[in-house]
């Protein structure tokens, strides 16, 4: 009889009902592929990296000894390698602070004063550089900062050459020209990562409710006071979110230190040299663990400060 067939739902309908009654199972099925991808290619790679860092290179044969040990970390904590770490961390910190200082006024203007039209133009101006090749921009800066480059020329024309020379004569961060000095490298880092700071600060500022600012002034707070006590604290999460980008991007970059600066190694280049030319994969892995640890600590602190609310 036909009633039988119509009273039994089709198989896919039964599957649908089965899954509907078990929301957890459908969730697992839905997420299985992305989770597998995440586990194998992201976490798996990180774990493999971590394991590698506990192996060591046999100096006699140049082969990797697959035995758990801390020799590689002993090597990492030698003075020369720690120089590389300190140099990178200091640069990353200074670049992050400079980016925040530069980005805040622009983000503030964009969020609070710019008309709809101007805001659109400013967004575009911030984002357009990100569309062009990173390499082209870095190599362009090399030419801009060169001894015969436009900045030096500008100082010459204004008769300010002694000022530039005095800046370049500063020990440690100076050099024979801007492109050969840490000052130049700092400028390029700030230029390259600035948009990553502007956008989160801007997002945080836009979320500061107007009513709070009005309330502050109603209660007698001067603009200055309102800024320091109301607006800035509410924007801190955005600044921290931006600094996560600038800090971690500077920690890992190996192109800029190889084109600009005085050739001193940064973590990225040290990793590249150790795994690429030396075949010392354990030490390269140990070097890579350093930014992972630093960022881990930084993220925990940032989370406490509520930075991720602004992402």
């Amino acid at each position: 009889m036909t009633g039988d067939a119509s009273s039994r739902p089709s198989w896919w309908r039964r599957v649908a009902i089965y899954l509907y009654q078990r929301p957890n199972l459908s969730l697992v099925l839905l997420l299985a592929l992305p989770l597998l991808w995440l586990a194998v290619f992201y976490l798996g790679a990180l774990v493999s990296l971590l394991i590698q860092s506990f192996f060591k290179l046999d100096g006699f044969t140049g082969r990797i000894v697959r035995q758990f040990g801390l020799e590689t970390y002993q090597q990492l904590f030698t003075a020369a390698n720690m120089d590389v770490v300190y140099r990178t961390v200091i640069m990353a910190a200074v670049v992050s602070v400079a980016c925040a200082v530069l980005a805040f006024p622009l983000a503030y203007f964009m969020a609070r004063y710019a008309s709809y039209r101007v805001r659109g133009i400013l967004y575009l101006a911030v984002l357009i550089p990100l569309w062009s090749s990173y390499l082209v921009r870095v190599y362009t800066w090399k030419i801009i900062l060169a001894q015969e480059g436009i900045i030096t020329w500008f100082f010459n024309v204004l008769g300010l050459k002694p000022v530039l020379d005095a800046i370049l004569a500063i020990p440690l961060i100076g050099g024979s020209s801007l492109s050969f000095s840490f000052i130049g490298m700092f400028l390029v880092f700030v230029y390259i990562w600035l948009p990553y700071m502007i956008l989160p600060i801007n997002a945080a500022l836009e979320r500061v409710p107007k009513s709070l600012i009005e309330a502050s002034s109603d209660l007698g707070g001067r603009p200055n006071y309102t800024f320091w006590r109301v607006i800035l604290p509410l924007t801190v999460p955005g600044i921290i979110a931006g600094s996560i980008f600038t800090f971690s991007l500077t920690l890992g970059d190996y192109i800029i230190p190889s084109v600009i600066g005085n050739s001193s190694f940064f973590i990225g280049r040290a990793v590249f040299a150790q795994q690429g030319t030396a075949g010392n994969i354990p030490l390269a892995a140990a070097f890579t663990v350093v930014p992972m640890v630093i960022m881990g600590v930084y993220l925990v602190v940032a989370k406490r400060l509520g930075a991720f609310d602004a992402l």
Partner: protein, 396 residues
């Protein structure tokens, strides 16, 4: 994004290396060349195997393919490490390996010995290269070294200088190692460069070999710890003079054009480009001699197309190919006959690229713990070179 790619690359490498355990396989050389298999797969430096696609005048592949029926597939590699990694994957027949990769491949069991009797033109190869140490080694330990390849091309690392500052060519590498006042009355401090690869330690050792004979350096790639430390001291002194080390050929060209750099170790490649651009630049082989590179076409232990591979090996030392390649790349042919009558290379092409300087060149090879002489296993291996060179550049 670039940074991200870098991280991903490192991780992939880490995974890849942990997956591919090294294994050696005993395999004697071939005894005869049969019919071609229809193709041959070659790992090569960019510009090494040209089929006229960049410039129609430079083509040494299409003729070979028509003659032998072996289609040539080229996989270019940018670094020696990339070459070693590709050969470890094991799907290639041949590789144009430099001295730093060649012994690593041979000792790693990735190569098969070449039977030179199967290469009719072997006798035309430059005698100075026929038994060179970077491809002729005794891996099986029977007392007779085996050939692990056919020499392809070689070239020197020259001292490039600015002709306006140096009215006469500098006679010694001391212009990049010792502080001094140059021809224009200004110190060389901040105006010279050095290569930022750890192999530059060998250049310092080469300099000390001549200026500090009591160290007893015989070979700049086999340094015991005292010799190594002396070289590092010299490099620390050099660090004071070098505002920036060079790494990328085009950045160095820019440094000589825009940064007031007047002397540095360099390659004929940069010299030729700067000269062509009308810059006051020339190069010289200083009295101490120089380091250099020599590349060899080597055959994979499990080459899937051995017959075509042998045909290519024979073809690779054809004088026409050798001359064209030398003109294209700015290198020196491994077959002296190629120096004559090649339109692309010109009358004095070989001499200009360094043919007569062979004896003054210490060819690049990977430093290993085995000194190769009666000192035994006390030499400083390459990974120590890397660590220490990073320290020197960092000002330690």
């Amino acid at each position: 994004m670039k940074k991200l790619m870098g991280w991903v690359g490192v991780m992939m490498l880490v995974l890849g290396v942990s997956a591919s355990a090294t294994f050696a396989q005993d395999s004697g050389p071939m005894t005869s060349v049969g019919a071609g298999e229809g193709q041959v797969d070659i790992v090569a430096w960019p510009g090494y195997i040209e089929r006229g696609e960049t410039d129609a005048a430079y083509d040494w592949v299409t003729g070979f393919e028509a003659e032998t029926g072996c289609k040539v597939n080229v996989k270019t590699a940018a670094t020696s490490d990339e070459m070693v990694a590709l050969m470890n994957e094991g799907v290639f027949d041949l590789v144009t390996a430099s001295g730093d990769a060649s012994l690593r491949l041979a000792y790693g069991g990735r190569l098969q010995p070449i039977n030179i009797d199967l290469i009719p033109s072997w006798s035309t190869v430059d005698e100075r290269l026929q038994n060179a140490a970077w491809h002729t080694v005794d891996i099986d330990g029977n007392g007779t070294p085996e050939h692990y390849g056919v020499p392809y091309q070689w070239g020197p690392n020259v001292l490039m200088y600015n002709t306006e500052v140096f009215k006469e060519a500098p006679a010694s590498w001391n212009v990049v190692f010792e502080e001094q006042t140059l021809g224009d009355g200004v110190s060389n401090k901040g105006r010279v460069q050095a290569y930022d690869g750890p192999i530059h330690i060998a250049d310092a050792a080469n300099y000390l070999m001549h200026h500090n004979p009591e160290l007893g350096i015989k070979d700049p790639y086999s340094l015991d710890i005292d010799q190594f430390n002396a070289a590092l001291d010299l490099l620390r002194q050099q660090r004071e003079l070098v505002a920036r080390y060079w790494h990328d050929a085009f950045v160095q060209i820019d440094d000589f054009t825009n940064e007031g750099i007047v002397a540095s170790g360099s390659w004929p490649f940069q010299v030729n480009l700067l000269k062509a651009a009308g810059e006051p630049i020339d190069s010289v082989f200083p009295e101490e001699g120089a380091t250099g590179w020599a590349d060899t076409t080597m055959m994979h232990v499990n080459a899937p197309h051995p017959n075509c591979a042998y045909m290519w090996l024979e073809h690779s030392i054809n004088p026409k190919l050798q001359g064209d390649l030398a003109a294209w790349f700015g290198s020196v042919p491994s077959v002296p006959a190629a120096c004559e009558g090649n339109d692309l290379l010109g009358e004095n092409g070989c001499e200009a690229n360094g043919f007569g300087s062979f004896e003054k060149i210490y060819f690049w090879r990977t430093p290993i713990a085995d000194c190769g002489d009666d000192r035994g296993q006390v030499c400083v291996p390459y990974y120590e070179w890397v660590t220490n060179y990073i320290a020197v550049i960092g000002g330690r």
